[in-house]
């Protein structure tokens, strides 16, 4: 399993709800190899977001083991988890979530900046290269708040790639965009996947988009009910 980017074994998550335990995930086993382009689908309330938060190291499982790049994460202290999250995982959210006080270029630099503490020339060069890669070279010095929705999502994708993460988690990355822009964004994710060999796990409601992924994992009621390769991807 040397080339496993993400491995989950027996992952459970339950929340305390009043006096009773509310179980959301009931034993998830999942393995993502390097370079995979996978979709995670399922109805609302199936536990997709909870699973994504666990994989993104934003939350901790109640039980089970979670390996990122072969490294066991349960039991790691908070500071180590934070660093691991920053370096190995990139996030693309539905609501773009750029930091409006900074320019497009600075937003792309941000993961490098929080990791190294101070800005330097190599960061700027890397961010410029990434922005060019998503077709926004000429918008580098625009304040993030002045960009259109599609442009903001492109900046967010460039930002997610800044640390050359092993895994990019995309939560409804096209959910807030019109169909045409959504197609462009999806194509961009795919292009990055093929060009850089970055592993993607994309949560989506949209069956049309899921159909364009290599693999579709379906979650229902906190359990994986189907996990199939997708020939048309």
């Amino acid at each position: 399993m040397a080339d496993s980017v993400l491995r989950l074994t027996g992952i459970r998550k339950s929340y305390q709800s009043g006096d009773s335990q509310l179980a959301v995930l009931h034993g998830i086993d999942l393995n993502l190899a390097r370079g995979e382009f996978a979709a995670l689908i399922g109805p609302s309330g199936s536990g997709k977001s909870t699973l994504l938060n666990l994989i993104g190291l934003l939350d901790r499982p109640s039980d089970g083991h979670l390996y990122i790049d072969g490294e066991e994460t349960s039991g790691l202290p908070e500071a180590t988890i934070t660093r691991l999250r920053g370096r190995r995982i990139g996030f693309v959210f539905q609501h773009h979530l750029l930091i409006p006080a900074f320019t497009a270029l600075e937003n792309v630099m941000m993961p490098l900046l929080v990791d190294r503490g101070r800005p330097d020339a190599t960061m700027r060069a890397r961010a410029a290269e990434l922005l060019a890669g998503v077709g926004l070279a000429e918008r580098a010095d625009y304040p993030a708040s002045k960009l259109s929705g599609g442009q903001q999502q492109r900046v967010a994708i460039a930002r997610a790639l800044a640390m050359r993460p092993a895994l990019v988690l995309a939560d409804e990355p096209t959910g807030n965009l019109d169909t045409h822009t959504a197609d462009d964004i999806f194509a961009l994710l795919r292009e990055v996947n093929l060009r850089e060999g970055t592993t993607f796990l994309i949560v989506t409601h949209d069956p049309r988009l899921a159909a364009r992924c290599d693999r579709i994992v379906e979650l229902v009621d906190g359990q994986i009910v189907s996990d199939r390769a997708n020939a048309t991807g």
């Binding site: 934003l58 500071a79 979530l97 990791d115 101070r118």
Partner: protein, 404 residues
């Protein structure tokens, strides 16, 4: 984005700049608070310096006197009725040696031997009770700036010469060059020429004090070779009482500090200082609450941004420091604005508080050290005020924050 600044500085300044109106309002708020504190401090220290100067310029900081005579009854017990001893004028034992020793103390700036006692000044039919004060002028002016108080003639007390106050000169109808006859209590008399008139700014002192040479006073008061007291000037006048108690314990002599002899005045000074400290404390407190409330709102507004920063790998410490810095920056900028405002207030004050002849009533300035203290203090208050909101920001759960 300056290359040498760490992430926390960059984020803090950007966040402050982005929330322009809020930041500006709170900086002005802090500025007004700091200006009140700086203005009040400058005004108060100016007023106090002025008061102290006017009240104490004719007094020594510390006076050493011979020990009091006490009755030593030869029988003791309940039956013995002991009358208190009358206090006679006498010299400090071995005052030259004591003077030499006092001059070596680090707290002491100057020592002046004084032979003083009661006498009458007689001129024609007029007869006034006076305090005859024998001095060494060179030493005495270091304790009481008598040379600065001369209004006519000069401060000179060679044999046969005396310097008197303007009030006494008026009472006796005497002026420079006139003769004055001094009758001391011991019966000794001397005739002196008035060579100088002084104004100590105190009517009683102007009417009673007659300065003569140390030797002339010694022979008139029957204190040949002796002095009735040693007057001390100290480097820090507020240490007077502590030194007085120490000297009394060491030598057995009576040591009176200006703090004890002007107890009411000193209490007034102290309570003025205490009440101004209370006001300063509450002004600082309200500025701190202002900073804290603005930052609390900012943390709520930026919850998503904080969440995304945490998702990108920003540590809790980085988020904490980003918000602490915002508090510090607001405090620092507010203190600069406040010092500027205080300087303006003082300029206004100076133009309003003038004497009849247009000269300023007393000098008040904003000293550089006060600006520095205000800057450091306001920055610290800002950081402290930011502590609660910053901790709240650092402990935000990124999952909750991102979901919004």
């Amino acid at each position: 984005m300056h290359p040498w600044l760490p992430f926390e500085w960059i984020a803090a300044t950007r966040f402050l700049r982005e929330g322009r109106t809020q930041s500006l309002l709170i900086i002005v708020g802090v500025g007004v608070g700091v200006s009140v504190i700086v203005f009040m401090s400058a005004l108060l220290s100016g007023l106090q310096a002025n008061l102290v100067k006017r009240t104490l310029s004719s007094q020594a900081h510390l006076v050493i006197l011979p020990p009091e005579d006490v009755a030593r009854p030869q029988v003791s017990g309940d039956g013995a009725l002991v009358q208190k001893q009358a206090q006679r004028l006498r010299s400090i034992d071995q005052w030259q040696a004591l003077r030499a020793r006092l001059e070596t103390l680090p707290e002491v700036a100057a020592v002046s031997p004084v032979a003083s006692g009661p006498a009458f000044a007689v001129r024609g039919d007029a007869n006034k009770s006076i305090t005859l004060i024998g001095i060494e002028p060179a030493a005495y002016v270091k304790v009481v700036e008598l040379d600065q108080k001369m209004v006519a003639g000069q401060l000179r007390v060679n044999a046969g010469e005396a310097v008197i106050g303007i009030e006494l000169a008026r009472d006796l109808g005497a002026s420079l060059g006139d003769k004055l006859r001094i009758n001391a209590g011991s019966g000794a008399t001397d005739t002196l020429t008035i060579v100088g008139l002084f104004d100590l700014g105190n009517k009683a002192a102007n009417a009673r004090n007659v300065y003569v040479g140390l030797r002339a006073a010694q022979s008139l008061l029957d204190l040949v070779g002796g002095v009735a007291q040693l007057d001390l000037a100290l480097r820090d006048m507020y240490q007077a009482e502590i030194l007085a108690q120490r000297l009394h314990a060491e030598t057995g002599l009576v040591a009176d500090s200006w703090i004890k002899t002007n107890a009411q005045f000193f209490t007034a000074l102290t309570s003025q200082r205490v009440s101004s400290n209370v006001i300063r404390f509450f002004v600082a407190l309200s500025a701190a609450f202002g900073i804290a409330s603005v930052l609390v709102v900012s943390v709520v507004q930026r919850a998503r941004e904080i969440g995304i920063l945490r998702a990108m790998g920003a540590s809790q410490g980085q988020v904490l420091r980003t918000f602490l810095l915002q508090g510090g920056i607001v405090g620092f900028l507010g203190s600069l604005l406040g010092s500027l405002l205080a300087a303006l207030f003082l300029a206004l004050w100076r133009s309003l508080a003038v004497n009849a002849d247009g000269t300023p009533m007393f000098m008040i300035e904003v000293p550089g050290s006060l600006v520095l203290i205000a800057a450091v203090g306001a920055t610290l208050v800002g950081v402290l005020a930011a502590l609660m909101p910053a901790r709240r920001a650092a402990s935000l759960d990124p999952v909750v924050a991102i979901r919004g």
